[in-house]
Subunit: 435 residues, 2 copies
């Protein structure tokens, strides 16, 4: 194993390339020669992952064999950002369970855990600056301390995975007000966050200050999706404030998002926002904004045409909570669809599969993520020319079956590949490799 | 921690009692005094398990607290046999996955893993005496070497769990003939095993000789359920043999089971058989036989009335593949139902929940086992007077919710407790403790 650079920093675009040379074996378990070369330890990790997947235990000879040796592999990812979202607000996930997920991500060479920490249902994370915030957790046991968060980031880094934290504002934030009711427009109308008070932005700033110490990744997700402004119009003091400011509800939405962006940027973060922000006031967004697509197709082409970077998560294909999306639809979704210019293509930093947590908790999250996330992972890693097309049932599908069984062998509870709905049990007895 | 005996042997009836003394803490994480006393290391393990479940991390003080200290606990199991069946023939389970299950069993103080290794669909285990047998595995990758089996037994022993192996004869054995077609009645009619050939019993003897080295537990399960003798009547050479022996198909079934029992007994094993053997020829069964109930209620009372020992697994309550059995039906099933005489009660050695594998593979087995297995585990461990009755929704249910979340916290994918069907996902966002 040769690693050129001693660089340990893990950021977007870190060199993950590697070469792997495996000589032909003589049928014994002692591998004669395997060389992995990489520019960074993160590239070396990817090479080791590939190597581990070339190896398998042969029960006849009781030895480890390298599949189809010799090998000479030169490999690198197509996209720098290959993400998986987890949602710990709809259901709390114990840190051991998050670690299981991170570990499994590394098997598919995914490299960003998008941690949607907080939403309207619960606020599980400790925020030292505003210590009442995690009163919004479901229970006193369903919480993450600052130390827990550090541990997750550290565990992920050891596998070459960045953790991108999200606080979703101004909507999806009802749980914030359990600890600080002043953040609600009123006691009966509880989101979006009250934009009239400096306190609201002080809290956001406090959260980001605390989080900046925990999350070294350069990207921070500010949410901004699905903002229903009814409560702003119905709470008298907000309605009055909007009148005084001569703002419509839409103006107010823009005001809030931009002010949150400024806070993030002041802390040396690149803001990521869900696409509604772009769809509603693209020209006002900070030019460093990374637009996170989800509603449908065609958004990344529009965003990059205006110079923004983009993450592809078209919900029709890459929302893992959509259980009716079969593996091949996941596989066929192409982040560069409709983008032909090479310089524009570079602005699509990658894509992300999203495991929203409404019906995913510890009991079912692994088999909802896997194996479909692996179909997206292949598209995000491999050269576009190398990705199977045409009759993928005879090309990509056997690979996915194999990978699902490999995950099972590593203790990951990946579901059968071809069931009509995701995470369904096997329909009857049979080999893992055909179910 | 005080352990009286240095005994390491783990057999049915090993002393699992312990006492636990936990002094009142002063609110700090440093526990002032905890004493666990046991006669054996296995009792000490149970005490440690209890202790671990009294402890919880308090996020407010960031310290480990002992719930409701002080404690003075004297504890021992009601039944010596507290089992869980896994079925690695309908779906192969990687050894890492079996270890996950064993580990989780220890949390509920279950102490016997009934390993239904082989069935008609696949023969995954290596048998050195008859090396073609595991040609009956689904694929060359879905196999257990002898070393794998040793590892499972050793891993289980470390948690005070015995492994009871099963070969289910003469039915449920079609996969044996992939390697040795002579074991089939004919090429078109493949089970039960051909009873006319000494080779058949030589193979059984070979399997048991090899297994005896691996499985030190004193009980061995010989199956004997659901024997459809049609192939014996349709294969000409068997039909002729039966005529010569003046045997009916029922006689032949008895002949086979008794001959297999003799082999097991000759290897110093206590035979366990499914209840059909008792139901069909009780008076001929070896008196050491342990009858394994499954078809319905009332069998254990009959079996013990005839002096047999019995294991309770009434499928209406304790077959975990019956997804429509709610947690409270599992909880309320009583192994001593209908048995009042104390000396007779002693013949019920315990009970077992059965996780048949037709629709349970790596992807869904944990959430099909848990949390319902824990409801049975409480009944098998606790004194009958201590088991909740009446409105168990306010007594036992909160415990089960808590235990489910404890399992989740330890990385076990236990499903919500009160869903209409087992292993269903949560129906919406919410705390683990109420789903």
């Amino acid at each position: 194993m040769f690693v050129v650079s001693g660089l340990l920093q893990l950021q977007l675009g870190v060199d993950e390339s590697y070469t792997l040379l495996a000589a032909k074996t003589d049928g014994q378990s002692i591998v004669r020669e395997v060389i992995i070369e990489a520019n960074t330890i993160y590239g070396a990790l990817r090479g080791l992952e590939t190597f581990s997947q070339l190896c398998s235990f042969d029960y006849d000879t009781k030895s480890v064999q390298i599949y189809k040796a010799p090998w000479h592999i030169r490999d690198k990812p197509r996209f720098a950002y290959r993400g998986l979202l987890i949602d710990t607000s709809r259901h709390y996930l114990p840190i051991g369970v998050i670690k299981q997920i991170i570990e499994s991500m590394s098997y598919a060479k995914l490299n960003v855990l998008h941690w949607h920490i907080i939403d309207e249902q619960s606020f599980p994370l400790e925020v030292p600056s505003y210590p009442k915030l995690w009163k919004g957790s479901y229970t006193k046991r369903e919480r993450y301390s600052v130390e827990d968060a550090y541990e997750i980031v550290s565990f992920a880094k050891g596998r070459g995975i960045n953790v991108m934290a999200e606080i979703d504002v101004p909507g999806h934030a009802r749980s914030w007000g359990i600890g600080y009711p002043a953040l609600w427009p009123s006691h009966t109308c509880r989101e979006p966050l009250d934009l009239t008070k400096n306190f609201t932005f002080d809290v956001i700033s406090g959260i980001l200050t605390d989080m900046r110490k925990i999350f070294p990744f350069g990207l921070f997700h500010l949410g901004g999706d699905e903002v229903n402004t009814d409560c702003w119009n119905s709470a008298p003091h907000i309605k009055k404030w909007l009148l005084n400011q001569n703002m419509t509800a839409k103006d107010a939405y823009q005001y809030f998002v931009l002010r949150a962006q400024e806070i993030a940027i002041s802390k040396n973060w690149t803001p990521v926002n869900w696409e509604e922000t772009f769809n509603t006031f693209a020209s006002r967004l900070n030019p460093r904004t990374i637009v996170h697509n989800w509603l449908g197709g065609g958004v990344c082409p529009k965003a990059i045409a205006q110079g923004f970077r983009c993450i592809f998560s078209n919900q029709g294909f890459w929302y893992l909570d959509h259980l009716d999306v079969p593996w091949d639809d996941v596989y066929n979704a192409e982040p560069l669809e409709g983008i032909t210019d090479a310089s524009e293509q570079k602005l699509v930093i990658g894509g992300e599969v999203c495991m929203w947590g409404e019906t995913a908790d510890t009991s079912d999250i692994q088999q909802t993520i896997w194996p479909r996330a692996a179909a997206a992972a292949e598209r995000l890693w491999s050269r576009r020319e190398a990705i199977s097309s045409g009759n993928i049932n005879s090309t990509a599908l056997p690979r996915l079956h194999y990978f699902r069984c490999l995950l099972n062998g590593r203790g990951v509870h990946a579901a059968p590949v071809t069931n009509e709905y995701a995470r369904q049990p096997p329909i009857g007895p049979g080999s893992c490799y055909v179910q």
